[in-house]
Amino acid sequence: MKRRWRILQLPPEYAMDIQARLPMALCALHNFIHRCDAPGPDIIDQDFLDGDLPDPIFTDDDMGDDARGELTDGPADAAERRRADNRRDEIAAAMWADYVEERTRHGLAIPAPM
């Protein structure tokens, strides 16, 4: 991002609220370019040229609070951190089991966990 848009490399002399909007605008532009440019330069979103914005990926029906998830009250408490650590351990253990299985299948020695 910062390399791509020169305005992000040197401090622009605008009011802070304008400066805060710059990265947001560039993110939106980045996505727009990425979406419209990916198939090739000849496939530009015709809707956009006609004056319509591209359709949102999600409709309002999808956007119920259940589907979007909750906000938090504050930083994670100890119980939540422990839960997250356990999930990380489970992923790691599953990967390790998979790794051992893969090594065994190829007849390779299994390194001892360091």
Binding site: I18, R21, C27, A28, P56, F58, D65, A92, A94
Partner: protein
């Protein structure tokens, strides 16, 4: 012009956070190496963007690297698209502070899903951060082995 790009409807049409109904990107679901991360939405990190401020604000805006900046928090998905941005925070604030602020105000993460983050963010339900003090780049990667072994060195595997 700037307002057009950074505000509704253009901004919200381009930058949308996935919901629990959204499917996992093909890049993840199709690749067997990533099957352990099928509840992952994307990756999050903060970045400092150089800013120009008044003299009295400079103390707050100076970051740990020594220059005046705004700290911005971005989330991107596996299609290399931004799905969330939080900009204009003081350069002196830490990534974790931005994260807490975002989570309390407008960053909703569907239950059970999480983001990949670096160790500057604390662990919580919505983040998967690396183990501290573990070397992640193993020689198997150079040999282009099939397996990813990010975390294995830290886990006590029962016999």
């Amino acid at each position: 012009m700037l307002t057009f790009f950074s505000d509704d409807p253009f901004y919200s049409s381009q930058i949308q956070f996935p919901t629990s109904n959204s499917s996992v990107p093909l890049a993840i679901s199709d690749d067997p190496r990533f099957r352990f991360f099928d509840n992952c939405i994307g990756a999050i990190d903060g970045t400092h963007i150089r800013a120009f401020t008044s003299l009295e604000d400079q103390a707050f805006m100076r970051n740990r690297k020594g220059y005046i900046s705004q700290n911005c928090l971005f989330v991107c998905d596996f299609d290399f698209l931004f799905i969330y941005s939080l900009c204009g925070c003081d350069g002196s604030s830490a990534d974790a502070a931005l994260w807490n602020d975002a989570r309390q105000h407008d960053l909703r993460i569907p239950g059970g899903r999480y983001l990949l983050a670096d160790a500057g963010f604390g662990t919580c339900d919505a983040l998967l951060v690396p183990y501290r003090g573990v070397r992640y780049h193993l020689k198997e990667w150079r040999q282009a082995s099939l397996t990813l072994v990010y975390f294995l060195t830290f886990v006590n595997i029962p016999d």
